[in-house]
């Protein structure tokens, strides 16, 4: 359909104009600076502070070797097992948080009454850092999986609900007024105006939410739980396998970025109207 064609053409156009600009070269200069700083400080100049740090070459050798010294590289199934487990936990937590948080946020934003009842309680619980819940979570939930997922869920949930609620607040009042004029009931206005109108904010919130989810997941995995990327990092530290730490960190960075991008793409797909509006620069 013409819809997907437009998106494709736009993406192609954007990519080609990006490649022609100085941007990609600057980007690589930046990467180069960071990586060479790392390389030089550890391996060449051997700066005192950097003595025990894993070396760039060591890390990349390990990461890409077919028979890694410490057991984790892109060739070992173990590696993907850990990634998979972290992803699975994020999946449960994030989707549950979205399924509960978005409707709650929508209703809180829409109904003054509901907000007066629930928001104070919500705001009372929110400032408690998610990680402060760790011991309580361990006490309440049996096993080692559930507490970790619970913590991740909690962090995601607060972020999603709050952003959704703020999103509803930000919708121009004229849209709901127009709907009333045209004969819509309160409920119809909610479905046809509030929900679509809040979508952009909801998706921004979801991107924040998934970032927060990863944050909590890693903490949870480092403290309790087996397997997972946080677990790798922690274990690698304990077992003095420092190059693994870095592999874990880099993997986290990549996967975190990819999941965030997926959320953004999902948002773009659901809000075709916005993509097209923004592409044309509005009027």
């Amino acid at each position: 359909m013409s819809q997907s064609n437009t998106t494709m053409n736009l993406t192609m156009y954007r990519m080609s104009s990006w490649l022609k600009s100085p941007k990609p070269y600057l980007m690589f200069i930046g990467f180069g600076c960071v990586l060479s700083f790392w390389y030089f400080s550890v391996e060449v100049w051997k700066l005192p502070r950097f003595q025990d740090m894993p070396a760039l070459t060591e890390v990349f050798e390990e990461w890409f070797s077919k028979d890694p010294y410490y057991g984790l590289s892109i060739y070992t199934p173990e590696y993907y097992k850990h990634i998979g487990i972290s992803l699975r936990r994020i999946g449960y937590a994030f989707f549950l948080a979205t399924a509960l948080g978005v409707p709650l946020g929508l209703f809180l934003g829409w109904s003054q009454k509901l907000r007066e009842y629930i928001f104070p309680l919500f705001e009372l619980l929110r400032p408690i850092p998610v990680l402060a819940w760790v011991p309580l979570a361990i006490i309440i939930f049996s096993g080692s999986e559930t507490p970790v997922i619970f913590l991740t869920f909690l962090a995601s949930f607060f972020a999603t609900t709050l952003n959704t609620m703020l999103g509803v607040e930000s919708i121009d009042e004229e849209y709901s007024r127009a709907a009333y004029c045209l004969g819509a009931s309160r409920w119809q206005t909610f479905i046809h105006v509030v929900v679509p109108g809040a979508m952009p904010f909801i998706f921004t919130g979801l991107q924040i939410s998934i970032g927060v989810a990863w944050f909590s997941l890693v903490a949870g995995e480092m403290v309790s739980g087996q397997y997972g990327l946080g677990y790798i990092i922690n274990t690698a530290y304990i077992m003095v396998q420092y190059s693994q730490i870095v592999i874990g960190m880099i993997t986290l960075g990549i996967i975190g970025y990819v999941t965030s991008a997926l959320v953004r793409v999902a948002g773009d797909y659901m809000m075709q109207w916005r993509v097209r509006e923004l592409a044309l620069g509005g009027d």
Partner: protein
Amino acid sequence: MSTVDKNNSMPTKGAIRIEDVVKIYDPEGTAVMAVDHCSIDIPAGEICMIVGPSGCGKTTLLNTIAGFHGLTSGHIYLDDEILCGPGKEKAEPGSDRIVVFQNGALFPWKTNLENIAFGPMMEGKLSKGEIYQKARKMMVDAGLEGTEDAYPGEVSSGLRRRVEIVRALMNEPKVLLFDEPYRALDSLTKSVMHEALLEIYYKNKVTIFFITHDLEEAIFLGHRLIIMSSRPCKPKKIVEVDIPHPRDYSVLTSPRFREIMNEAKSVVNEEARKAFEAGEKEG
């Protein structure tokens, strides 16, 4: 006496009577009087132009008729039935009085066609097929053919305004309330809009309550001008525009047009200067 054209059959519905309406914002606090004992009689089918300096309270009056907020005292009748008054200070918004907003309130997440079909779809009396058929026909009539599947964000603001008006007309309202709808358009687009609006008016004889600060627009479109004083607003002078309908752009250069312009201009300028000196923030 209004000078509504008597050749075409006049509607009997849509007469508005505003009786001694007062609106004070925040009566227990800052007590800003926006509308000061305003009384206006608008016969059915008249194009009534409300002219006045920015911030004088014209929008407040419109909002009270539309039912977005209540009045402090006075009555408003629609076809001799009370809309709002003591005991029922806030009217119900409804599809008999539809507003066309200043910045446009087309739903950006629906296509033009879906927007236009919105009112009847919410009402639910006709089938989806019938509604869409009628919507397409109205779009063709209004010269909007071909833009059905575009989103509002993809088309020009002039076109958006027309879509919004068609959206309103789908519900066969008695009254159309315009809140400076063409304020943000350039003057070339504006003249096209004016002629388009008149064309639509000749086909659907609704009562039009049109707020503007553009004198030329007011005299070109209206049967009558009601010139409001600066805040708090109160009708200061009523100017009859006895140029016969149907009108076209040649009217703009006619001598009678110039005469009416002179008559109205001095009053408007006086009020505008008062508002300027008072430093009012625009409503």
